[in-house]
């Protein structure tokens, strides 16, 4: 991918080889010092783009998804040039929240946005973005949250895993705004001036429809084709694929597509099981991924997979996307009353993580993840809190920390679960 190549060469600075080499001129290694001028077109050093960082595993350029807990689960962030597919929960409350977090992160970092929707006007979507949590006022709220959870547990210290008390605590709260991922307050709106000074393109499908609605089914790729053309125009005109030699700073294009596959896009995979144009959605994803791979962009798509009648389409869609995250909310289901789930609002399933320039992927060991939306934070936690003998109802979980639990077989009759903090 275009971005990765640049990233690999520039990620580490060359050492002090140059000092010894220029004396005897044996090697041609020259020390690359920091240059005073900003960007140079001939320089192979990476011009760092705001809001991105290279992955520590394979040097891939990553952007934040807007939710630091999700970034950790995906291995540091979302790779530039890939698609994040979110399988919507039943009433589309939390998936639209993740969608907005992604767009809000783009505004904070100064990325260009492209918002496509068939249900809501993109201008309205941008008005409803959550406000970022800045350092001072959020940190004390976060600390008091942590304290509230800590007081019932403080008398039960970690007796067995005592060595881990000596480890430094993982940084989980919001810190300065120049960090990679930011936290957002879902109850407040983003300030208007931030939205106005950001650059965004909107695609509202009902406006692009032809004025006459005909009863025979139009070519079902009509809506998708228009969207692809729109995305391609934006990428080409703004130079995200390197086509226009731009003097200004490189930037990332964040694309957000809402409710892809719903009948409002003209696609009937949600309505029938054997539809005529069952390949239009998969074609769309294939072409979209091709567009993304050749440009500096990242895309988030929310899809109502619970409505798709043909399960084969869901597996095809999963294969054609890079990262797939499924949300399952407890609203209205029988799990709302289950005491095991009473602190959480839903489960989050990481269905697929891509293998980009790799042979293996970094799949997390923990499969039972749940999320909850507190008044300011959206946290993802491991749900296998269990009642070890004698400590029924004890909570091992602290908010904002991603924790892992290992089961140790004490004897073959029962297990004890211990709580370990894992630092990356």
């Amino acid at each position: 991918m275009a971005a990765a190549a640049d990233c690999g060469t520039g990620a580490g600075s060359t050492g002090s080889i140059g000092a010894a080499a220029c004396k005897n001129n044996v090697t041609s290694f020259q020390r690359k010092g920091p240059r005073a001028s900003g960007t140079d077109s001939g320089c192979s050093r990476l011009v760092s783009i705001a809001g991105t960082r290279p992955s520590v595993r394979n040097g891939q350029l990553l952007v934040s998804t807007g939710l630091p807990a999700l970034d950790q689960l995906l291995g540091g962030g979302l790779a530039v040039g890939t698609v994040l597919l979110i399988e919507e929960d039943k009433y589309n409350t939390y998936s639209s929240l993740l969608f907005k977090f992604f767009l809000a992160e783009g505004i904070i970092n100064g990325h260009t946005l492209l918002v496509a929707s068939a249900k809501e006007d993109p201008a309205d979507i941008l008005q409803e973005l959550p406000a970022p949590l800045l350092d001072d006022n959020c940190k004390k709220d976060f600390d008091e949250d942590v304290c509230n959870h800590k007081t019932p547990d403080s008398n039960i210290k970690m007796k067995i895993a005592w060595r881990y008390q000596l480890l430094p605590k993982m940084e989980s709260g919001p810190v300065s705004s120049s960090r990679f991922g930011h936290y957002y307050d879902a109850s407040k709106r983003m300030p208007q001036e931030l939205i106005e000074e950001s650059k965004w393109h909107g695609f509202f499908f009902p406006e692009k429809l032809s004025s006459t609605l005909t009863t025979e089914p139009r070519s079902l790729t009509g809506g998708y084709r228009k969207l692809l053309q729109f995305i391609q125009n934006v990428i080409y005109e703004e130079g995200f694929d390197g086509s226009n030699p731009q003097k200004k700073q490189k930037n990332i294009l964040r694309i957000g597509i809402q409710n892809l596959g719903s009948p409002l896009w003209g696609d009937d995979i949600c309505c029938t099981e054997n539809c005529d144009n069952s390949h239009s959605l998969t074609k769309f994803l294939y072409v979209l991924r091709g567009l993304l791979r050749t440009s500096l962009s990242a895309c988030i798509i929310t899809m109502p997979t619970h409505l798709i009648q043909n399960k084969a389409v869901i597996s095809r869609v999963t294969n054609l996307s890079d990262t797939v995250v499924g949300l399952e909310s407890f609203t209205g289901s029988g799990r709302e009353t289950n005491p095991l789930y009473k602190d959480y609002h839903g489960l989050i399933h990481i269905r697929q993580i891509p293998r980009l320039n790799n042979l293996i992927y970094d799949v997390s060991d923990v499969k039972d993840l749940a999320f909850k939306l507190k008044r300011k934070l959206f946290t993802i936690e491991c749900i296998t809190k269990l009642t070890s003998y004698g400590t029924q109802g004890q909570k091992y979980l602290l908010p904002g920390h991603l924790q892992r639990k290992f089961a140790i077989n004490k004897n073959r009759y029962f297990r004890t679960l211990h709580n370990l903090n894992k630092t990356y």
Binding site: Y91, D124, T215, T272, Q309
Partner: protein, 330 residues
Amino acid sequence: MESVVAQAGLVLLRDSVEWEGRSLLKALIKKSALCGERVHILGCEVSEDEFREGFDASVNSRLIYHDVFRDPLNWSQSGEALPGGPLGALQAMCRRTDPGPVTIALDSLSWLLLHLPCPALCQALCALSQQHSCPGGGSPAEPVRVLCLLHEELHGPGPLGALSSLAQAEVILSGTMGQASAHILSRRPQQHPTRQTQWFSILPDLSLDLQGGPPLESQPHPEPHTPPVSKGAGARTRECGGGVRDSSHEQRKHPLDLQVDPTAHMTFNLHLSESERAAKDSLTLPFQFSSEKQQALLRPGPRQATGRIFYEPDAYDDLDQEDPDDDLDV
């Protein structure tokens, strides 16, 4: 019930063979007509005369009836037939520009679903229920309410799911022992969906009579349409509120479902008695640096063998006392 149904947007009335919904639709039409709203009706299933019976003259004068039943395929080619068929009629309703709150009633959506492709119908419905934002900006948002009657037994899960995802409120009709009830699922944007159960009956003059609970002589048993969690939840005023907790508005007299206890059917014992708990707390763990160990280290006692290694050589061990590295000149 009125507050939930009176909100703008798409309201689906799902009825079945046992519990018909046309009378509820007519009752809601009458209520909005008496409030002074203009009511447009797209009649597809029954004739105009049959639909208008039961309404009194004042209500009838406010109803604007678009008749598709008489000539659905437009064979008569007369001027009064609607151009473009039912979809054209829907489009014409989209493009109306008169001010004021409007209620549009579709009788029935099932007929439209059987004659039109589902995606086109969904797009038309979405355009209908959101038309206050469409025309060029500047005009204030007028509440447009679209009441649709849907016979849920005629359709598969696909179209039902697609239409439910579009609706702002969904009313599922059921009942027990001759008493009708409505399960109302309200999905306001930015808020959690709320569920409510309302017992009601329709009087002969098409007014809505709301009742407190199920009829007293009935046995409490779950209705076929009841979702597993049948408790009502209060409407939320805060968007994205944290935590789902049940609150007021419980209309039913049934006992609340007991919480599921995950430790109910285990084959091993997770509880500790007091003596066991005391023994557990006083246990010294092997690798913990307790005070006794610290004292033992500080005071080197007799026979303190801290670093002795006891080694039993195997038969195959080569115990060559010579150092093999002796000949290295290092």
